[in-house]
């Protein structure tokens, strides 16, 4: 121990090393703690030669360490060199285990940590915070003392550890760098994800190493691994290269042996090495135990921070990905800024100031950036609960706009998932598409556009500014962040959305006062995929509105369930039983993970009684639904086979993600001649790479769902995009813009495997040159070999970026895959139009 440092920085990623370099430059006493033997482990573990991007391009870099887009090796090289040049005090192999204040207890400052067990029970642990200096305990037993601590540990987390007796023995390891390192050993792999399988196969690959490799599987399936990996593992097992031990768990470990619990009892076998690949734990627990509070219990929440990145534990600062900023440039700027703040520089403006200034420059009235932020924060009610730092960050993903009276803010049927808050003025909603003169006002302070945000579907009505109006348009991402950070905002949005959904559901006849009692008693419920909401024959009497996701309606006719209809978000169901007092006539279950609004039946009945017009409308809707049921029932008698096929086809499509699609490519294999013209047209319409794989994917009754984007209502790919490059375009398409950094998160998050990572290939010779002289590879995607050879001729290598279907946005005539199909096999459909009896049962030929 060498006294107390002014600042200890934990984690040597971009944020941490930029902070350390600044501290070194200012001459502060500091230490940079890194758990491995090299800097910046996350980037270090990138694939060899990976091109690292530097976005956003409009953000200036403010750091003592250089960074520009380039190869992983170059960037790491520059950092190593400059960290050494700055004489940064780096301590390697220093993994922090706990951080605690060594000063006096801070009165009234108690950290509550909520722990949720697997069975759903919650326990609350309380920790009394203590004042600095902090003692940082390391896993090797050392302690580092520091007045200030900067946590820059990212979100990668630490590998989950084994917990059986003997798990702390040295031959239990959590990583495998080089499988060729081990010979003549009995090795047990624990964990049957991709990492475990790849390790096991790597160790057993070369028989000359003479390793005896076993992989333990708690069950008999491999649900978390890629299909190709599982197949290869099975083949290795059959070939006797390694052994899969199913239904086996580790009971205890001792040097040279391992004891397993198996279906047939305990088994003690020789074992020289255990490699455990059982996932990793997010760092949240560790962070909370340091006394740092998170903004909510939400799994995606970030720590609560002051404008200078200080957490709820005084003297502990959080920056980088852990603070919610995954981009390298942001991280490096924060590293610089946080040291300036700790050093007493209070004048420093954040590096993103010019970007924020740009956001307000077209608004009328001359206010400073801070005044604008305050104006929006105080005037838009859902923003009231935010602090200035949150407000700044919020504004980066939002835009403030001014509209003149009568100007359209958005139109009915336009795609859009952003939320609008009215800072001043008011807007008019055109509730009746047939008569634009009927409008409902929304006043200043309130919000609109929430239906698009929640349901992921197109805008339900045209909205115009009623007077001079300033609105803040909150992107989907910012709106989701806002809801997880400010619970009050979440509640307000929820209430308004329920009210509007009720008003919209029954046309323009109702007022807010009419529905107020119903809104008060409404409950939002989350439903898993396939969960039954209403059971046929049951006697419950609630009415439901689909808030997000979608439902399928089934009825048992004979012994088998028959598919009746598909209900997209915005529809309601369950009203029949309430109105005529009968038991449920059909089963309604979710097609995908969904949210419903549950309205108590009595409240709904009261509303109907007070509004005869509404009652009439509900009866009319009901008659329509009854007619569908009767029609299908009558068909069932005559064409039982056709109805079964229709039901099964509908179920097949729902199982393949059509329930959350907005526009999906299907191929009728009774017409498909396998010419792959769809793929060729796709490649030729988009930089020479095809975004669809015709052959791959599932098929049922000659209806094939190829590997191609479904343009989901709530795209999984958007979930974790560091530069926020995935957006919904004007034609409803989900597309990736040019700020993509090629991280591959979207590819991993897409459950349908429709995103590929590839470099834009060089330009091909023209079609005419190919036809006449045979130059170039011809129409369609050029073979890999050609692309590689041509790319090598170019001066600068291109980064591999994420590419996916953009529904031929901006191309006249629409999707090229459909237009290029010579036989009419390729169609693109929307589930609410396609999942009907007439469409599914029609014969295309």
């Amino acid at each position: 121990m060498s006294g107390t440092f002014k600042v200890a920085i934990i984690g040597s990623g971009p944020a941490g090393l930029s902070a350390a370099a600044r501290a070194a430059a200012l001459g502060l006493s500091h230490v940079l703690l890194e758990k491995t033997d090299h800097l910046s482990d996350t980037i270090y573990k990138y694939q060899k030669g990976k091109h690292v991007m530097a976005t956003p391009s409009n953000l200036v870099l403010r750091s003592d360490v250089d960074f520009e887009a380039g190869k992983r090796e170059t960037i790491l090289g520059v950092w190593d060199e400059q960290i050494e040049g700055h004489n940064v005090n780096v301590k390697y192999h220093a993994e922090a285990k706990a951080i605690r204040g060594t000063g006096d207890a801070i009165p009234g400052s108690v950290q509550q940590i909520v722990m949720r067990a697997r069975d759903g029970t919650r326990t609350v642990k309380e920790i009394q915070r203590h004042a600095p200096p902090y003692a940082i305990e390391l896993t090797n037993g050392e302690t580092v003392m520091a007045e200030n601590v900067i946590l820059a540990i990212g979100t990668q987390g630490n590998p989950n550890r084994m917990r059986c007796p003997g798990a702390d023995l040295p031959h239990v390891q959590y990583q495998l760098d080089d499988p060729a390192e081990y010979v003549d050993e009995h090795i047990i792999i624990v964990g049957t994800g991709d990492a475990g399988i790849e390790n096991a196969r790597g160790l057993a690959e070369d028989p000359a190493q003479r390793n005896t490799v076993s992989i333990l599987n708690r069950g008999t399936e491999f649900p978390t691994a890629k299909d190709a990996n599982v197949k290869a593992l099975m083949a290795d097992h059959e070939a006797g290269k390694l052994m899969i031990r199913t239904e086996s768990e580790t009971k205890s470990i001792e040097p040279g042996f391992i004891t397993l619990t198996t279906r047939d009892g305990e088994l003690r076998i020789p074992c020289d090495r255990i490699i455990a690949r059982i996932g990793s734990a997010p760092p949240r627990m560790f962070v909370e135990e340091c006394g740092i509070e998170f903004s909510s219990e939400d799994r995606t929440a970030f720590p609560k921070l002051s404008p200078v990145f200080e957490s709820t534990a005084p003297g502990i600062f959080v920056i980088g990905a852990l603070a919610g900023y995954p981009l390298i440039k942001h991280c490096m700027n924060q590293g610089h800024d946080v040291i300036e703040f700790i050093n007493g520089n209070t004048e420093l403006k954040p590096a993103d100031e010019p970007i924020i200034v740009e956001k307000f420059k077209d608004l009328p009235g001359s206010r400073s950036t801070d005044e604008w932020l305050e104006f929006l924060r105080t005037n838009v009610s859902i923003l009231n609960g935010m602090n200035p730092l949150q407000m700044r960050e919020f504004m980066l993903d939002s835009t403030a706009r001014h509209f003149r009276p009568g100007e359209v803010i958005f139109e009915r049927n336009a795609p859009g998932s952003s939320l609008f808050g009215i800072a001043s003025g008011s807007v008019a909603v055109e509730v009746n598409p047939a008569d634009p003169s009927i409008t409902i006002p929304i006043e200043a302070g309130s919000i609109f556009g929430e239906v698009g945000l929640i349901s992921g579907r197109r805008r339900g009505a045209t909205i115009r500014a009623a007077e001079d109006t300033i609105v803040v348009e909150i992107s989907r991402l910012a709106a989701l962040k806002l809801q997880s950070q400010v619970p009050a905002a979440k509640k307000a949005i929820e209430r308004i959305s329920i009210e509007r959904q009720l008003l919209q559901m029954f046309g323009s006849g109702l007022t807010r006062e009419d529905v107020a009692p119903l809104v008060d008693s409404a409950k939002v419920e989350e439903k898993r995929a396939g969960e039954i909401v209403v059971t046929e024959g049951a006697d419950d009497k609630d009415v439901f509105i689909v808030r997000r996701g979608s439902m399928i309606v089934e009825k048992a006719i004979g012994t088998r369930p028959v598919f009746l209809s598909y209900l997209p978000a915005g529809s309601y169901f369950g009203e029949m039983a309430v109105i005529d007092g009968s038991s449920r006539t059909a089963t309604v279950k979710t097609a995908i993970k969904s949210e419903v609004i549950r309205l108590p039946g009595e409240g709904f009945l009261e509303l109907l009684e007070r509004n005869p017009a509404l009652r009439e409308r509900a009866l009319k809707d009901m008659a329509g639904r009854r007619a569908t049921t009767t029609f299908i029932e009558s068909r069932k008698d005559e064409f039982s086979g056709a109805v079964d096929l229709y039901s099964e086809t509908a179920q097949f499509l729902v199982d393949n993600g059509i329930g959350e699609a907005t526009d999906v490519l299907l191929i009728d294999e009774k017409l498909c001649i396998g010419c792959d013209n769809c793929e060729k047209a796709c490649a030729d319409s988009h930089d020479g790479l095809s975004r669809l794989d015709r052959e791959a994917g599932r098929t049922y009754a000659h209806l094939h769902v190829p590997t191609s984007c479904r343009h989901c209502e709530h795209p999984h790919c958007m979930a974790d995009c560091p530069p926020n490059a995935i957006k919904r375009g004007p034609d409803g398409e989900v597309f990736i813009d040019e700020t993509c950094i090629g991280c591959g998160n979207c590819q991993r998050n897409c459950p349908y495997g429709v995103i590929r990572m590839d470099a834009k290939p060089p330009k091909k010779p023209s079609l005419l040159e190919w036809m006449l002289f045979g130059s170039g590879p011809g129409p369609g995607e050029a073979p890999y070999g050609w692309r590689k050879k041509e790319a090598e001729k170019e001066a600068t290598p291109k980064a591999k970026l994420a590419i996916k279907c953009d529904m031929c946005s901006g191309i006249d005539g629409g999707p090229a895959c459909v237009r290029a199909c010579p036989t009419g096999a390729a169609i693109r459909v929307a589930p609410d139009k396609f999942l009907t009896f007439t469409k599914l049962a029609e014969d295309a030929e």
Binding site: K231, A235, A239, G240, N413, D663, D668, E669, K670, L671, C672, I673, G674, N677, K680, A681, D684, S685, D693, E695, A696, G697, R698, T699, H702, H704, G729, P730, D731, D737, E738, L767, M771, G778, P779, D806, S809, G810, I811, D812, G813, G814, P815, A816, V818, R819, A820, C821, P822, T823, G824, A825, I827, R828, V829, K833, F834, K839, E842, E845
Partner: protein, 288 residues
């Protein structure tokens, strides 16, 4: 990045697409091109019957020239399908509509072309062009039949596997066969080695189209390796799996060959037809 100017036009285009009925190229737009082709044929026939051509119906009369010009125009336009299908942008057109028109207008050429000859057939370049045209149309008819009947069997044979997956499955079986065959005796091992060594695509064009592979080493090995011992039985099972996998691959090859083979005649004949047409037109004008 393409411009993101979508707007009302694209939305209504998209809605029309999503609303449209799902029909094949033959039934496109309620048989629109069939009716147009029938009308063209009907009018041509009617004209041929009603117009008094002197001294006799002939390609050289004014009506003959009219039919000839229509025919020539159609042939040139029909042959442009080859360019169209490879050039999808720009333009808001659909290849299905083009195929539909290609099929029906192509068939109407039988009427238009025949009437243009005035039934004067002889051993000359003019008749050559006519015969070539009929051959092109005949191969085209085969194509239409193939397109209408074969895709369902292609799909059924695929069993949700891609071509690459079929080959991967074969490789996986081969890997297992190789180690499983180690305990076998010399004769049987040779049979297995021969099966593994044989190119799975070997067999030539006839085999590919008929689906019969008389020289298949896997079939021979299957017959030669009995189930006498445990090891042999294991190899036998694997060989049966291999034969099944080969059958699927060969089935896919066969159906695709049947779907494509006519193009190898249709297109060269079209080129020959255009050449003959040029000769026909030039000679007609030369001897005017």
């Amino acid at each position: 990045m393409a411009t993101r100017a979508g707007g009302a036009k694209r939305f209504s285009q998209d809605e029309k697409r999503r609303d449209s009925d799902h029909v094949s190229f033959l039934r496109h737009r309620g048989f629109r091109w069939l009716w147009i082709a029938l009308a063209l044929s009907g009018v041509s026939l009617l004209g041929y019957a009603l117009i008094d051509q002197q001294p006799r119906p002939n390609g050289g009369s004014w009506y003959g020239y009219t039919l000839g010009t229509i025919g020539l125009g159609l042939i040139i336009w029909l042959s442009l399908l080859g360019v169209r299908k490879r050039r999808i942008n720009p333009g808001a057109w659909s290849l299905k509509a083009w195929t539909s028109a290609h099929v029906y207008l192509g068939l109407s050429l039988v009427v238009v072309g025949t009437l243009h000859t005035g039934f004067q057939i002889g051993w000359n370049v003019h008749t050559l062009a006519y015969v070539l045209m009929l051959l092109v149309i005949a191969t085209g008819i085969y194509g239409v039949i193939a397109y209408a009947t074969l895709p369902a069997s292609l799909s059924a044979n695929r069993k949700e596997m891609t071509r690459a997956q079929m080959l991967d499955a074969l490789t996986a079986i081969d890997r297992q066969l190789e180690s499983a065959a180690q305990p076998l005796g010399r004769d049987q091992a040779d049979l297995v080695i021969a099966a593994l060594a044989q190119d799975s695509f070997a067999g030539g064009a006839i085999s590919r189209i008929t689906g019969r592979y008389p020289r298949c080493a896997t079939a021979r090995a299957l017959a030669g390796v009995g189930e006498a011992s445990d090891a042999a039985a294991r190899v036998h099972t694997l060989l049966a799996k291999r034969a099944e996998q080969l059958a699927q691959i060969r089935g896919a090859l066969r159906i695709r060959a049947l779907l494509e083979i006519w193009l190898f005649i249709h297109i060269p004949l079209t080129i020959a037809l255009i050449a003959a047409l040029i000769a026909h037109v030039v000679s007609v004008f030369f001897y005017w």
